[in-house]
Each structure stands twice: as structure tokens, then as C-alpha cells.
């Protein structure tokens, strides 16, 4: 079953084709890698998929629903969550509150109920806290629930971003360089976590990564982007042995 189907997605910035006729089909439950040299347009693809940029042309179908041209908020509600290359946590909120913010659309009570502390407030907040702790435990962050997210070490901030994205209960999770800045041991652990959350939360994952060990280690399929265009797409062993890909990465 197709989770994401993108056809002919393109965008230009001032004459430069940042992403040119991007096509991808991701099956439900798949773990897909999006790689390419710096400036290839990988993050731009993420920004197009999540509605930060409006595509010049192309169609994005998520689980049968056309989401092209929708706003980031609508797209998140439709089922895409993401992390950011440059970490964008809510710095002045605690770890717990960051995740609870992700739960915003899963558990609801009115503003008035919050102000007047009606029973629905206590009931829902309790459920939210429990759910948030469940998610934090997966990332081994539950002991730091009361810490301000800005005070977390870098590696844990990256994990918290994934936890927060998962809290929105997505069908498709986009991870933008989740292992950036991590040491080999942390990366190893992250690989385990990513495979684990796919099982536990039944989520489809598309990730951008420069760490080839991670990509080759966990991705079932790999898409290589170069100058905004598809260079290769398919199974890891085929893609990574493709002479074009090697050339793009190592130069002539």
C-alpha cells in the first residue's frame, strides 16, 4: 500500500531549479533514505512535503489524500511530522511540555476549561502526561522530563525532536539529519531507536542523512538527489554501487 506518492514535484528560487521533477513512492511501513551532496535540495524536498514551501508544480498524495499546496498545519494534521536539520525545540519549555505540545491535536479541551480548571482539564492533562511519558521512555528521556529542553545535551535534543514529532501521531515521519553531531556510539543507538519506533508506532519513515553507515544500515530503499534531480533510486546495494552516485559523492 502506498503511504506517500509524489509526482513531478518542482520548485525554483530566482531561476534556480532547487527541486526538479521529483518523483518518489514510499510504501506503508518502509524506511526510506534520502541522500545527496550538500545543496542537492534534500531539505527543500522536506519543506515542500511539509508545506513550508508551496511547490511550483507537482502532486503530493499522502495515504490517498492529496495534500499538495496545503499549509504546514493542515499537512501535520493529515499525518506528516518532521524534525529539523537545525534543531527547533521549544527552548523555554520542559522536555515534557515539548512532547505535550506535539500532543496538541491528539488530546483536546477548550481554553476556558483550562482557565477555569474544569474536570476535562485534569482528565485530559493526566492522559497527556501519561502518553508523553510513554513516548519519552522510548527515547530514554523520561528522567529528564522536567528539564528545560535548551539545557539538554545536543544528542538528546535531537532525540527529543523525534519524540515531539512522534507525539503528533504521524503516518509519515520525516527526519532531517537525525545523526548530525552524534558520535559513533550515539549513532549506533539512534539506529536502534529509529527501527524500534517504526515497529512500535507503525510509522513510515523518510530520512535525510549524511552518515552512510546509518543509511546503509537501516534504510530499505535509498533515493539519491543531485542538483535537485533524481540520480538514483532503489535498493541500497544497487544505489550505493551505482557509478553515478559514487562520482557525485567523490567527484571526478
Amino acid at each position: 500500500m502506498e503511504m506517500l506518492s509524489v509526482k513531478n514535484l518542482s520548485i525554483s528560487f530566482g531561476g534556480l531549479r532547487a527541486v526538479d521533477s521529483f518523483n518518489i513512492t514510499i510504501q506503508k511501513g518502509e524506511l526510506y533514505g534520502l541522500i545527496g551532496p550538500n545543496g542537492a535540495g534534500k531539505t527543500t524536498v522536506f519543506n515542500l512535503l511539509t508545506g513550508v514551501y508551496k511547490p511550483d508544480s507537482g502532486i503530493i498524495i499522502l495515504d490517498g489524500e492529496n495534500i499538495s499546496g496545503k499549509s504546514p498545519i493542515e499537512i501535520n494534521k493529515a499525518g506528516i511530522a518532521r524534525t529539523f536539520q537545525n534543531i527547533r525545540l521549544f527552548k523555554n519549555l520542559t522536555v515534557l511540555d515539548n512532547v505535550k505540545t506535539g500532543l496538541h491535536n491528539q488530546y483536546k479541551y477548550t481554553t476556558l476549561a483550562g482557565i477555569l480548571r474544569l474536570p476535562s482539564y485534569y482528565r485530559t492533562e493526566k492522559l497527556m502526561t501519561e502518553k508523553a511519558y510513554d513516548i519519552l521512555k522510548v527515547f530514554d528521556l523520561d528522567k529528564e522530563a522536567a528539564t528545560l529542553s535548551a539545557n539538554l545535551p545536543y544528542g538528546k535534543q535531537r532525540k527529543l525532536e523525534i519524540a515531539r514529532a512522534l507525539a503528533t501521531n504521524p503516518k509519515l515521519l520525516l527526519l532531517d539529519e537525525p545523526a548530525a553531531g552524534m558520535n559513533p556510539a550515539e549513532t549506533e543507538e539512534l539506529m536502534k531507536t529509529i527501527t524500534l519506533i517504526r515497529e512500535k508506532f507503525g510509522v513510515t519513515i523518510l530520512l535525510i542523512e549524511h552518515d552512510m553507515k546509518l543509511v546503509a544500515g537501516i534504510c530499505e530503499k535509498i533515493f539519491v538527489l543531485n542538483f535537485g534531480m533524481e540520480l538514483a533510486n532503489g535498493l541500497p546495494q544497487d544505489v550505493l554501487n551505482n557509478p553515478e552516485v559514487i562520482k557525485a559523492y567523490l567527484g571526478e
Binding site: 531539505t43 519543506n47 513550508v52 529539523f84
Partner: protein, 293 residues
Amino acid sequence: MSFLSYLIKGISLGSVYSIIALGYTMVYGIAKMLNFAHGDVIMVGGFVIYTLMSLAGINPLISVLAAIVICTLLGVTIEGIAYRPLRKASSLAVLITAIGVSYFLQNVALLVYGSNPKSFTSVINVPALKLADGKLTITGETLVTIPLCIIIMVILNLFIKKSKVGRSMIAVSEDKDAAVLMGVNVNKTIAITFAIGSALAGVASALMFSTYPNLSSTSGAMPGIKAFVAAVFGGIGSIPGAMIGGVLLGIIQILSSAYISTQLADAIVFLILILVLLIKPTGIMGKKLHEKV
């Protein structure tokens, strides 16, 4: 004919706003701060001229030059004492400090000169020009103000584009950290910006109080706010924007007080500001900023 005379009056007032707005906009562009005390520097300039010319009987030109020098020194001093220690603080902290400086200047003036408004004698001794059989009169103040403003704009533009100091100003306003790496002395550049802005405030004080002679400790505040509005109007940080914004603001204010209501003139000015920003959120000449995701 009366429309034309109002229009000229508006351009004249607008030119003064432009000069004040330039000070606001240059400081904002470089130090990224709203210098709320800028209007009060104009008030100080006014009192300097009043003291020298009306009380001590010194030649108007020398009085004006003295006011420009004192305003310049004042601007640099304020920057050094109050703003420089807060270079890395939040913009809100700097804003509050600027408000403190504004209160300070107003209250010093109040202590020295008392609360009764002083009547400012015009520093401009140019006869009024009568056109179309005396139906259209252009005051001497206007005859001096408009050309002087144009000259100032041209010189300032050349200075910023051509001189080394001017180019380092642009560098600091684009990217402070990169400017440091390129060997630009940021503190010195900001101090020079304050000096220029305050010198312009000195010029503005002579022109403004010659036309609107009511001088008290708070008479700089409203023109300061208006000039700030003019700067935002034109796109804050943009020098041509400040000129256009200032002139437009002056024209709108004079025309609306002439044709609609004197009491509502300020409200109309502010309403048009809101409308402009709703249509173009960064002002007429403002650059649109994209946040990189």
C-alpha cells in the same frame, strides 16, 4: 491655490520628519534597536539654540552649529553609557533603557527650563516668497528646509555608498559577526552612526522649532514618534524609505488637518500607517526577510 500651499507646507514638515527618521532608521539598521530617546535629542537641540540665541544673543548660525555639535556629543555619550553595555542583551532590554534615557533627557530639560513652554525664535532670516499675486505664500523656513533636506539626503547617500566608514556601516547592518571577521570595528561604526543620526537631529531641531516655535521638555517626543512612524512607513533600515516615508507623513498630516479635522490629523496619520503595513508588512521600501528552515 490653498491646496498647493498646504502641499508645500506638508512637504516642508515632511522634510523635517525625513531628517529625524534618517537618524532612527540608520541606528535601527546598524544597532537593531529602537532609539526612543532620539526625539528628545531634538528637544535638547532646540533648547541649546534657544539658550544661545534668545538668552545669550549669539548669532543664529553659530547657535545652530553649536546645537549640532552638542547633539552629536550627546548621541555618542548616550550610546556609550547606556546602549553599549547592552549590546548582547535582548532588544526589549535595550528598548526600556532607551525609554529611561528619554525620561532622563526630558526631566533634565524640565529642571533647567521649567514646565512653561518657551517661544522659539526662528533661526531662518529669509523673506517669504509671494507667488501668484500674493495668493501663494511660501515661508522663508520652507524655502530653506526643503532644499537643505535634499542636500543632506544626497550627501548622506554618497557618504554611505562611497566612504570607507559608510561601507563598514552597511557591513555591520548586514551581518555584525561577519563584519568583525572582516576587520570592521563594530563599536566605532555604531558610535559614528549615532553621531550622524544625532547631528541630523540637531539640524532637525533648528528647522522644526523655527516653523513650530513651541519649545518644552516634551516637544521632541511626538515628532520623534512621528519620525519613527515615517521610518517604519518607508521600511525601517532603508534610507530612501525614510525620506519617502517622512515626506508622505508630513503631507498626510497637513492635508488631513486642513481638510478633515485638526484633532483627528494624528489619528489619520496612524491609521494610514496601519493600512500600509497591512498591505506591505515591511514598509514601502522594506526588504522581505525569509527565515531559513
